[in-house]
């Protein structure tokens, strides 16, 4: 009786292993392609990116990764496209199981970029600049790729009020370090002028006039900010 029971248990285990192996073999017939899909420069998510492979496609707006399943093993061209980005194409060989291919999308242009508006805010490290990109309708541009840009500026002391003033001494001139703020809604491009580079006594409420020029692949854009706080706010 006991021996019979053992035989049944062994038979059950063997059947279970066979079923498991069959299922995994079935699954293993196809490959899965996955990986990162990000902006080449900012490493931020690419809004509206469409990835196509072997008659399958996927679209992402806020995700930095993608996954395409059920791909027959073989050679393919993995393509990705997104508004305002250059098309990405890469020849790949898909093997059974998992295949990792990262996609770095190169920004093409900022749509309908016509001008910039710069806002400043004193921070612990220096004066932070918010660069808002404006379109032909005068609206702030929201979704755009990160492009290779450089910023330079000149900062003067402001003598007088915001309504009536004259330029005072030049207290800064030169390139301004740019950085990408992924969490910002409008002003993803930001810059910072460190306090040590600003030649001014930080005591007392003093204001400055900042003239900036943003060099972009779409041309140079200028703006003036006449209410730059030259002191750290409490």
């Amino acid at each position: 009786m006991r021996r019979k029971g053992i035989v049944y248990v062994i038979a059950g285990v063997v059947i279970a292993i066979c079923v498991g192996a069959f299922v995994s073999l079935q699954r293993g017939e196809y490959g899965e392609v996955s990986g990162k899909v990000v902006d080449e420069l900012s490493k931020d998510a690419v809004r509206g990116v469409r990835i196509v492979l072997d008659g399958k496609s996927t679209i992402h707006y806020m995700s930095k990764s993608y996954r395409l399943t059920g791909i027959k093993p073989g050679s393919y061209t993995l393509k990705a496209s997104a508004p305002n980005y250059y098309e990405f194409a890469k020849d790949i060989y898909v093997k059974r199981g998992k295949n990792v291919v990262d996609i770095f999308m190169k920004g093409k242009e900022i749509p309908d970029l016509k001008s910039i508006i710069v806002f400043t805010e004193p921070k612990d490290e220096g004066i932070e600049l918010e660069i808002r990109l404006v379109n032909s309708k005068g609206e702030g541009i929201v979704n755009y790729p990160c492009l290779p840009m450089s910023l330079e500026g000149r900062l003067f002391m402001r003598i007088g009020t915001q309504e009536k003033y004259i330029k005072g001494d030049k207290i800064f001139e030169g390139p301004i370090k740019l950085f990408w703020d992924a969490k910002a809604y409008l002003a993803k491009n930001k810059g910072i002028i460190p306090w040590e580079k600003i030649n001014v006594d930080k005591r007392g409420e003093k204001y400055g006039i900042l003239e900036v020029t943003l060099h972009t692949p779409q041309g140079d854009f200028k703006d003036v900010c006449d209410d730059v706080k030259l002191f750290k706010e409490k």
Partner: protein, 444 residues
Amino acid sequence: MRKIISLALPVSLLFFLSSAGWAQAPKMREQLVYGLNVFNGRGYGGGFVPQSEDTIYLIAEKDNAISAHMTLVYFWPITARYMAAWQTLNEEVEGTLEVLKEGKVIKSLKKRDNCLYYPEGYWSETSILYTDEEAIKKFEEYKKAVEKFYKAVSDYYKKMAEYKKKLDKFLEETKKLREAGKKLSPEEVEKMMPKEPKEPEPPGFYVTEPRKDYIVNLPVGTYRIRIRAEDGTIVQDSEKKLVVFTSRRRGGVGYEIIPGNRWTRRESCDDPARIIYAAGKNTLYFRPFHQDEYNELYYNKLEDPQNFGREERWRWVHIKPIKDVLLVFLKEGKLIKKVENLPYYVKQIPGPELGYNIIEYKKEEMPDRRPTFEGYKLDLSPELAKGRYEIKLEKKLEKGKFLEGGTRQIRLVRKENSKYLYPFSIFPLVVGIVVFIGRRIKTR
């Protein structure tokens, strides 16, 4: 000491883990989800199908609106459900919805205009789905009705301003006449008094703004759906199983019972074999419905794709309220009374003590209110004689003819000697103790 440590350690670990769980924000994942606006037997209901659900359930031979969206999905542990952050991301997935049967594409559906028409207003459960030109036409009809209402409101305010002026003039004149010593009869006052304009009523129906969705109308069966993008590719994660089902039985009579002492805790009595028990003094409001019987799993998933259910079980679903009947209350076949369907209003008792009264709704007394519910009121007092009570539904137009399946038995449970039942509940415990002690003595 060791005991204390061994007890304190898991408790503190549990506390630490749970507090860590509180602090965690839900992790959001971008997913392709299906949005549903599906027929549920009485109207249309919404819902969304996250990636965790691989099947969509629909009622056969009815228009159902389906749409595909990219959104952020997160798991909400309090309700143990996936939620969609529509405000953060809601992008429609474009393409054609393909319906497959046994591996072959049987339908390729393009998005079509559709809207929901609520003939009894936005809050009513009844709704009708209109598609294509009819949807546009229906919405235009609603827009015109709303514009007409706004114009009527504007006219009403103008008339009201005129009325106030006239009223002031009337009061002045009557005052002058009284001062002059003239006595006015109530009829004369009535004749002289300006008439107050009537406030216009908003449209009694509601129509949602037309939107573009895939309209799925299929016979009973199991299918698969997927989205083919404009470039001919199949959109990843758009494949789902589609179960199209229908009711097993139709035309039953079910009751929703509103107890007078806790009106928000409604109960249902859908099976004619079920007995209604009423304890002490009780007022019950009966709401009869036509009902259909559906598979529990399919229907629960239709109502919300994340619901649970069992495929081998069936459930009755209230479809339409029965109104053209009288509720007949009988004792052992003899008529006690006939009850009419009436509207009721739940009036909150003002003041610090919480409570409410259910009063009969009369439009002339409460012009600015709407009835809370409609039903057949039955007062069951403990003074009612012992016996078998039952309710039936008599057709108003055919006196003496009762609606099939509408009979329910009512049993009155008496409370006065209920305290004697409590000792019986501890009887098994006493037996257990006696057996336990007896065995201990024996083993010694």
